[in-house]
């Protein structure tokens, strides 16, 4: 039913993406700011409290002076839901045919946003280490959905916390106990490197490539929003408690606040496997979304 289709210009997509990149890098999401504030009230150590105070001051200065929250403005990661009755046009108002490229449109948005917003370009060739100069290519996960709209979720993923993330294939018999053991060991070993307080995204199930994708997507849920799967809520709370008992603390210098939240996403897996991905997110949990 072609007449049900809606047309959107690639330029509108690029503009929206550019604005999203800039906005997300200047403003800490409310749920994260609130979690940091609550953690500050619970923290007793002078060192840990001092660091949490600095993070609160940092968020204020960033917003007031239009400075990025962190100098690592990340690799740009997108989760995109493209309505199957939406066509992208190269020209304005649908001119130029409906053969616009969603990947090119998003990358163009990244290019503009990172230039206009004075964000750092942190993407390079893996071997020569030559910087691409415009923070592209972005990592884009595209999903086709019913409807005529386009939902774009953006995440600025810093290298420090991403480097501390891991994937493992557990034996099914290891179960929840094995999962907890692996996560706790990972967080303890990561120590101060991923800029604690961290948020831990867990992808459980799927397969070797799906588990990390689940873990990353899990990180997009707000900290004050309960897990849609009731059976996972207790597990998240249990693991959060155990992680904070490690005493890693803000910046790895000791204290009660190691983790602000554990976010789990699951998928069915092979009878022989228990895939587990631990995606660590730093306190500078920058993300945002736009619906077009």
């Amino acid at each position: 039913m072609m007449n049900n289709c809606r047309t959107l210009s690639v330029n509108a997509v690029s503009e929206a993406v550019a604005a999203l990149c800039v906005e997300a890098n200047l403003h800490l999401p409310k749920d994260v700011a609130t979690a940091l504030e609550l953690a500050r009230q619970r923290e007793t150590g002078a060192l840990a409290s001092g660091i949490l105070d600095q993070l609160a001051a940092n968020a204020q200065i960033a917003a007031a002076q239009c400075l990025p929250l962190c100098q690592d403005t990340g690799l740009a990661v997108f989760f995109v839901e493209l309505g199957r009755d939406l066509r992208l046009a190269n020209g304005a108002d649908g001119a130029g045919g409906a053969d616009g490229d969603i990947y090119a449109a998003i990358n163009e948005g990244v290019r503009r946003g990172y230039a206009e917003g004075f964000l750092r370009k942190s993407v390079c060739d893996p071997f020569s280490r030559a910087n691409t100069g415009d923070n592209t290519p972005a990592v884009i996960h595209l999903r086709l959905v019913p409807g005529r709209s386009l939902r774009i979720v953006y995440m600025a993923k810093g290298g420090g916390s991403e480097n501390m993330s891991r994937v493992t294939m557990l034996a099914p018999a290891e179960g929840w106990e094995g999962i907890k053991r692996f996560v706790l060991e990972r967080v303890r070993e990561a120590g101060g490197n991923p800029c604690p307080p961290i948020i831990v995204g867990l992808g459980i199930g799927g397969n070797f490539e799906l588990a990390p994708l689940l873990a990353k997507e899990a990180l997009l849920r707000c900290l004050d929003e309960p897990n849609p799967q009731p059976d996972l809520r207790d597990k998240e709370a249990e693991l959060l408690e155990l992680i904070n008992d490690l005493g890693v603390g803000p910046m790895g210098l000791g204290g009660r606040t190691t983790c602000l939240g554990v976010l789990i996403k699951t998928a069915p897996c092979h009878i022989a496997s228990l895939p587990l991905a631990v995606n660590i997110q730093c306190h500078s949990a920058r993300h945002g979304e736009v619906l077009l």
């Binding site: 060192l47 001092g50 660091i51 600095q54 993070l55 001051a57 940092n58 968020a59 200065i61 960033a62 002076q65 239009c66 400075l67 990025p68 929250l69 962190c70 100098q71 690592d72 403005t73 004075f118 964000l119 750092r120 370009k121 942190s122 280490r129 910087n131 100069g133 420090g160 480097n163 120590g191 101060g192 490197n193 800029c195 910046m251 790895g252 210098l253 730093c282 306190h283 500078s284």
Partner: protein, 177 residues
């Protein structure tokens, strides 16, 4: 109590003040420091290997492991928080041996760096990771001095005022992590 220090550390008094620092001390650092991270360190060590001069004097210097965001109009630099220090562990001992007084970053250092600190009387400071806008407000001037092709990884000379730091690893083998 915060101690006030000024970089570079050249006089006998400066150097003994460095030696007197203990892990956990809060420091407000002013003066001149240099930025350098992964790629810049590779080049600095390359210059040393060839016996060539470095773009800045290492003696008494402080190196800040960071790659700032571009400077918006009217500001010397953009946001400027520390990067993870262990990635510079393989380069740091050679620099401390040649007079580097302090490095600034985030996260723990390896055994070779701790050993180099004890030998040289140097120090490793931690800055708060992700407090990049706050730290930017302590930078008064910035000058690109080497490797402009490295973009955010180029070497900048920064003039800082009351830059908030913690002594993470001292010259006595003390380690905060």
């Amino acid at each position: 109590m915060k101690k006030r220090l000024t970089a570079p550390f050249l006089s006998a008094d400066d150097l003994s003040a460095l030696r007197d620092l203990r892990t956990g001390d809060s420091v407000l650092l002013s003066g001149v420091i240099y930025t350098a991270r992964d790629a810049a360190h590779q080049r600095l060590l390359g210059l040393l290997a060839k016996g060539e001069a470095l773009p800045f004097d290492l003696r008494g210097a402080a190196i800040y492991y960071c790659g700032p965001t571009p400077a918006p109009p009217g500001r010397p630099v953009g946001s400027i928080g520390p990067t993870t220090s262990y990635r510079m562990d393989s380069f740091a001992p050679a620099l401390y041996e040649r007079g580097l007084a302090a490095s600034i970053g985030k996260g723990p250092r390896g055994a070779a760096v701790k050993e180099a600190l004890c030998q040289s009387g140097g120090v490793y400071f931690a800055a708060t990771g992700g407090a990049a806008a706050l730290l930017a407000s302590c930078v008064k001037e910035a000058k690109l001095i080497a490797f402009p092709d490295l973009g955010p990884e180029a070497v900048y000379e920064l003039k800082v005022e009351d830059f908030p730091l913690l002594v993470a690893t001292d010259a006595q083998g003390g380690d905060l992590y």
